[in-house]
Point group: D2
Chain length 352, copies 4
């Protein structure tokens, strides 16, 4: 079958070879199921090396499960989560948080996928009023659904804002690696070190076959996690195979090598298409995504050759994402195709 690479999403990519090797190595004899095995112990140890000795960490199947379980640990059904109107939990999880936790999400309009205290404030209302859900968590994505990255100071500010109100800061880190690579900091600095209470640390979009981790700054929030994970259908039977992948990801900085590469490829793509008439880049390219408006008719033509998503039909805005396995040649070919589709073949080729 097809061995082609595109720019649709980082989860359209396969798995990093080092990850597959780790799975093969873990395939040795019998170990206890459900995480009571040495591979899981070692992977949790790796996470503590990167996120801080005091954290608690658990592996789950997918990103939606990681987000829902992280949030469930921080609030009750009559409480609420303030998030971006573009948040994955708001837009792309088919209502899983509401269904499973029973809580309400309070989406916040914004321009670039990022929250800030002044954007969150208007949703902190009705406190103590039994008719209103009570905001308890601020949830941010890092990097955001728009490919932008919060600075450490911005995260600190949101954490301080939340904590000052008895609230918590949750991070959907499906692309945390890209964000940390973009900031040039470690995983701890990018998360719990900046005041984040619970993190979904994504592996799948950074080269795993599949697997996510939920990481707690305060172990007290994790005391019932094992029961919750099982009840939420997120407990892997052969846990060692998720754990081994995380072990690989956190060995020799595979996470950063892969993420930084994807980020560079996105930056290169942005550079290549910036000058193409008709293409307008709409967001900062902080991580591995490029958002751009493209004439409607060109989109269909491009999609015939490379599948990618239209982000906003109305604005004719598309999303292009680089992944750990994107090559410079992939980028040049794609940029040239775009240029050709927009009728400026020379311009594009001249930039190569």
């Amino acid at each position: 079958m097809s061995a082609r690479r595109g720019f649709a999403s980082d989860n359209n990519a396969g798995a990093h070879p080092e990850v597959l090797e780790a799975i093969a190595r873990a395939n040795a004899g019998h170990v206890r199921a459900y995480g009571d095995d040495p591979w899981t112990a070692r992977a949790v140890e790796r996470i503590r090396e990167h996120f801080g000795a005091g954290v608690e960490a658990f592996f789950v199947f997918g990103g939606t499960g990681a987000n829902v379980l992280g949030l469930e640990s921080l609030l009750r059904a009559h409480e609420a989560v303030v998030c971006s109107e573009y948040a994955h939990i708001e837009m792309d999880e088919c209502g899983a948080p509401e269904r499973y936790i029973g809580c309400k999400l309070l989406p916040v309009p914004n321009e670039d996928g990022k929250l800030a205290p002044e954007l969150v404030t208007p949703r902190i209302i009705g406190i103590g009023n039994e008719h209103h859900v009570q905001p308890r968590v601020v949830s941010i994505a890092q990097s955001t659904e728009y490919g932008t990255v919060y600075t450490r100071e911005e995260i600190h500010a949101l954490a301080d804002f939340a904590h000052a109100r008895g609230m918590y800061l949750h991070m959907d880190g499906a692309r945390l690696a890209n964000a940390a690579a973009s900031l040039g900091v470690g995983l701890r600095e990018a998360t719990v070190g900046a005041g984040v209470d619970v993190v979904s640390f994504g592996g799948t979009k950074n080269g795993l076959v599949g697997g996510e981790a939920v990481i707690f700054r305060d172990p007290a929030h994790a005391s019932e996690f094992r029961f919750r994970r099982k009840q939420a259908m997120q407990l892997a039977s052969k846990m060692r195979f998720i754990a081994a992948q995380f072990d690989a990801l956190l060995t020799n900085d595979l996470w950063r090598r892969s993420a930084a590469h994807a980020n560079r490829m996105a930056a290169l793509l942005a550079e290549r298409v910036r000058g193409i008439p008709g293409v307008m880049i709409t967001q900062r390219v902080d991580a591995n995504a490029v958002f751009a408006t493209v004439p409607r008719e060109a989109i269909a033509q491009l999609q015939e050759e490379f599948f990618f998503y239209v982000w906003n039909e109305e604005r004719s805005e598309v999303r292009w994402m680089a992944s750990f396995d994107t090559t410079e040649e992939d980028v040049e070919t794609f940029a040239a195709t775009i240029a050709r589709a927009l009728g400026s073949p020379r311009k594009a080729s001249s930039t190569i």
Copy 2:
């Protein structure tokens, strides 16, 4: 780390080499995520070859998710599921069906893990009475949690019983392969061909890294499954890697080779321990599990060498399971260890 094999559970085993190879082969280039890829299409095709051309099939992460989603497709929150008091959904899923679906389970006492119409009948009460949950599904495990296997006639009888009352028959087939191998029939004959409406077809316990399928006899019940799977946190992003494993499982009858082997090893173990004084086999050994009572003091001693589960503390009953990778030598060593622990080394060695 340890490369030893034991008899604790078939999910303590690793993955079959053919499964790992299939994962490696699927790791080629980019494909669309979430199941809209050629590997998933091919695996669904394989399932139709084995289960019947008319079935609908979907892949999910784990067995609890498969059961919950299968059941959710068949009932509403005010309805109920009749099941064995030993059912995995009743005893070992931390209340996931109740939490997620909101429905009630109606457990039925029994001796061998198996239901039958006359056992189910007493729970079909309060029909039309708004104070009572309304029984809508009968759920059976095949093979059962006690290692026993329903005959095709027994399944047919339960299906007829259910359908005659406007109810459905659900099968938790976490070990369906072992049951079909035990019965010497195909997967279709063992399931939808015998009237089962929805099947959880387990892969993990039969040599996959991880993955289960939900299979519908009537596609009408599956019409909303894709939304439900996503909302239930069971939609794999890189679906091809689950699909490829099922493709392998259903190629060259790997499912049957592995299951039949495990069944044979369990039968061998039963044969070997049957004569050991103090060991009493408590259930038919139809599939890959051996249930036996063993003197309490011997259990602790044995567990130091081989981890396994005590099934019933009170009765001093243990469960030993064989898996696809169990060897005859493993069985002989384990049987000898048991014999030694029970003070009859000679008897055990004479049987080798």
Copy 3:
């Protein structure tokens, strides 16, 4: 205790004397519980007289229960309800719909509490995309939370819009009586006759001690309602006492007498305060509510004498509501108090 009347809410009023008399009359001997009694049969008959012979109707305890059960009858957990951003279900039910149904609400910005097809359209997206909740219901309040009233044509347009998309139209009629009185039409014309699929018909705010009805245009949607009502903790044991109240409400047009009176008192209040400097009426006074901006310092002073709610802190907007027992004298006194608080005693008194 206090026998004073205010303008805080129509649920701050007590019960209409005819309602208390009906309760007393129903207090005769034993009847079957849970609605299988002659009082309930008669009240349902009354509802059919007013809403149409083909409707199904059920009584519940409160408005939130009525809304949640009505919505639950129309959608599944992965589907969604489009509603006004000011909707009671969105703002004032502490997340009950999300908690109980598991569904998502999709709030729509608007100016006057009213939806219209062009406002709803932008939320009808992601159809068939498993990552998105699927819009299934449009829910409107009649009269709205802003005291405005949909015309029959506006309701028809929303019903046609919904039905053309396989969706349903739900009406939160906590103040349906006020709306119908305002429109000068019957209850049928105001609801199912205009295409509404399910109505919460409010009694409490129109002079009952307590009780609401859920009314279905299509009995097929009601087929499981009795089970759902019980499971949702909304089944009254001594149902006759809710039923008798509705019987009274629908006898000799008590519902319209009370609602029309409340509407007139609101109109009178609007007339009286319109000229007071500093008071700006912000919404049409179609039913029994007056929304107005008032200088912040005057609000606190007024609230010392008459309790009422600030609707929008930021805009310094308040809500004043008339009820079935509001008298002209109450209005004049209140208007005079407002005028005095705003430093224009003469102007106010001159309008009396």
Copy 4:
């Protein structure tokens, strides 16, 4: 309509005249809605007089709501409630606890509706095992669904048992008044004074129009109750009318007068039917219910004259209940009817 009285259930009775008077008295002017009113404050004060100064108390619409909200205050979704297999929460609430809380109920077989530590013990298993729900609450009904009454010592023993395991004791007191009257103790002694953590204090079955209270021994468990009550659709808008009924119930010992009378009438009925050939009383008549086996053919004949419930079809066991308004004449007439139906008119008449 009919003004006849029967023995079907205490909720087939109407309301006590003192209760209707209290409602009428509370119908004076405007007060704040949702319980922020003087009637509610006074009723809570009354409850503290009877249950202890330290309790927290809240009013809800119905018994199912009271039970569900009480339980929700004590556990999380992955925890479980141990209860009698005959418990109302298990058998007669259409799965409301599972649906709303998401938790599991663990029913316990028993003979007389009563739990005891040795009956509960077998369900306290799997502690710390993430696959098992974790028992957190023992829930008892007082009086039980079988009309039996726990002694104070029995309650103390269950409370001690629960508390020693970090668990709580919940009481479904739908008929608490009958139990306390039977025991000859006050409401405090019968509940929190005996170690009960949360009580559903039933009013409806003891002569109210409708209303129940949830009472907390430890206010810490009630800290989020107001939000939970609203979200659970149990917050009455015109709360004063529920509160006033409780005020009446707790004034001049109306609760005890009514309950003791009902108990006496049940005792009289038991005395009258005990000697009738074919009638076998099956449970102690501690409170206001009589359980008896009666020949099947006689049941149908009797039900033509007096509606009542068959409790156990298989055993041909029926339930007869007395209520606050049952008269001695009602009892004698009913006993005579039974005697006649069973062909022993003389015997029955001789006992009059």
